[in-house]
């Protein structure tokens, strides 16, 4: 039996829609939310936290996983990233208070202090830019940090830009674009090739 891990949160509905559209399995949100693990139509679906999807797939406890690219930046591993599922789009941006002098990279101070939930992606971006950075790892409400003078800027996800505006922050630079991805365990691709390829092509064909 093929197993697929799907994430709680903003990508859950999109994941269930894709599974239904592709004819893989029809599950309602309530059922999976209550049971966390459902076996139906020859497929085992497990519901896990977004940050945990890659762990389940990398260790082979799930053959496939649906996960945001933002999580993969933070959890590199031996999985195969197979398909851009195109839903759950959002941007990882460097944002600073509206009144901040931060603008073009030329205006950035020799060392910048940045708050983020995405330390790896932030470090990779800053290295690309040749920018020295001091990172403050926060776990929520990152938007508050620059307003209180904790940091110069934040690196955070934004879908519509509303939260940024409400906190009087503006985008200084794009760090990356995230959408939902289909990932696969390396060994599953070899040991359950046919069943897995079949499901992957079906999901790929129903990406909207």
């Amino acid at each position: 039996m093929i197993s697929i891990a799907i994430p709680t949160g903003v990508l859950l509905q999109g994941s269930l829609d894709l599974l239904r559209r592709s004819g893989a399995v029809e599950l309602d949100r309530e059922e999976i939310g209550r049971k966390l693990l459902v076996e139906k139509d020859g497929l085992r679906v497990v519901l896990v936290r977004p940050a945990d999807v890659a762990a389940y797939v990398d260790y082979g406890s799930a053959d496939l996983g649906v996960v945001g690219k933002d999580q993969l930046w933070e959890s590199p591993g031996p999985h195969y990233e197979l398909v851009d599922l195109c839903f759950g789009g959002c941007d990882l941006v460097l944002a600073a208070p509206e009144a901040s002098p931060l603008d073009d990279p030329e205006t950035w101070p020799p060392a910048m202090r940045v708050a983020t939930k995405y330390p790896r992606a932030t470090a990779a971006f800053m290295e690309r830019m040749g920018q020295t950075v001091e990172m403050v790892r926060l776990h929520g409400s990152v938007e508050l940090a620059p307003q209180l003078g904790l940091v110069d800027a934040i690196v955070d996800l934004t879908a519509s830009g509303r939260t940024l505006r409400e906190n009087r922050l503006r985008v200084v630079a794009e760090v990356g674009r995230s959408t939902a991805r289909l990932i696969a365990n390396q060994a599953s691709l070899k040991t359950r090739t046919e069943a897995l390829q079949e499901l992957v092509s079906r999901l790929r064909a129903h990406v909207s």
């Binding site: 195969y80 990233e81 365990n185």
Partner: protein, 400 residues
Amino acid sequence: MRATQEAILAEMRRWGYRYVVTPSLENLDALALGLEADQRRRLFKLSDGDGSLLALVGERTVPVARLAAGKLRTAPLPLRLCYAGPVLTNDPDRFTRRREAHQVGAELIGASGSVADAEVIAMAARCLEAAGLHGYQVDVGHSGFFQGLLDGLELPPESKSGIKSLLARRDFVGLEALLEQTPLRSAEHELLLRFPALRGQADILEAAGKLVRNRRSEQALEELSRVHSLLGAYGQGETVNLDLGAIRDFDYYTGVIFEAYGQDLGSPLAQGGRYDRLLGRFGRPAAATGFMVHLDLVGEGLRRSGRAPELIRLDAAVAWSAAGLDSALRLGASLRLFGMRAVVDTQARGQASAGAWAAGLGARHLLRVEASGLVGWAPAGGRLRRLPAEQVVVRLAGGS
């Protein structure tokens, strides 16, 4: 784990591989010659008294190559060597994977060509079998196939290195995006995207042959075809798949590469391939191929299939009363002489506590040496008897 390691080493010896011992601590510069940047980063490093950097070995092929090019440099080629030991790597990623892992491996140095490739692959499969694993499979690929594809593409070097690094990260979404930005629209471009799906039996070689138009890839396909048919002769046709999508360290491997997978294990049990450039870096250019088995994963596979090796049981627990110590020690020695596992108690015991002691040890038989020198023994299902020591030894050795 030791039993598994022994079983694998015994199989390697049957193939004529000589066991070598390599150091666990090496000069960093020497180790670095055989490792890619990412692997180098993961080594545990320390400094020597004179300030030079040392590292704990993260794999043992490089130390074996060093040995073949150093101490064994006058030994005639081909050399067949095997090794076992711990390897240490620091994994800064999100999982705290175990830092110390155990590997057993073999290297065939100084032999090029498909016959040598097939020998090593067949032996790897037999080693897994010897360890007690069933239902494994071996995927055989060729690093030249991908290199040929890449050489054949008319792209600037930056794009080619981008393709390599995306493939190394197995990021096919990124790869597709990168290829879309290039003007390429060839069969080879399609092939790059279909990489992980290029698996199967001999027929995929023909299918792939129609899609590639470069000498290097074609040559890789020819070599794979030869190796595949040789593996059939070894009786391993059933366990082998051809896998043109095998993605491994592109700069290290120079020919046929392979990986073995178990059922329900998330990563490969064994990995290997041809690395013809490594020995030259140590001053003795020679073709080479080899593999290593991840012992910890083999153990996990055995446990999952309910075939974990049993703990070794004691044949006899020898208890004694105050005057029987000397006889007990002699009895223990005789039992061992007959190849049995025997423990002689370190203190005198009464009848009742001796029973509990022997049960605690998990011994098959309790032998109690009495002051008279006679041995009290209850054969399985039988009642307690008193016999002279020699008779007990003979009967136990006879299997009762």
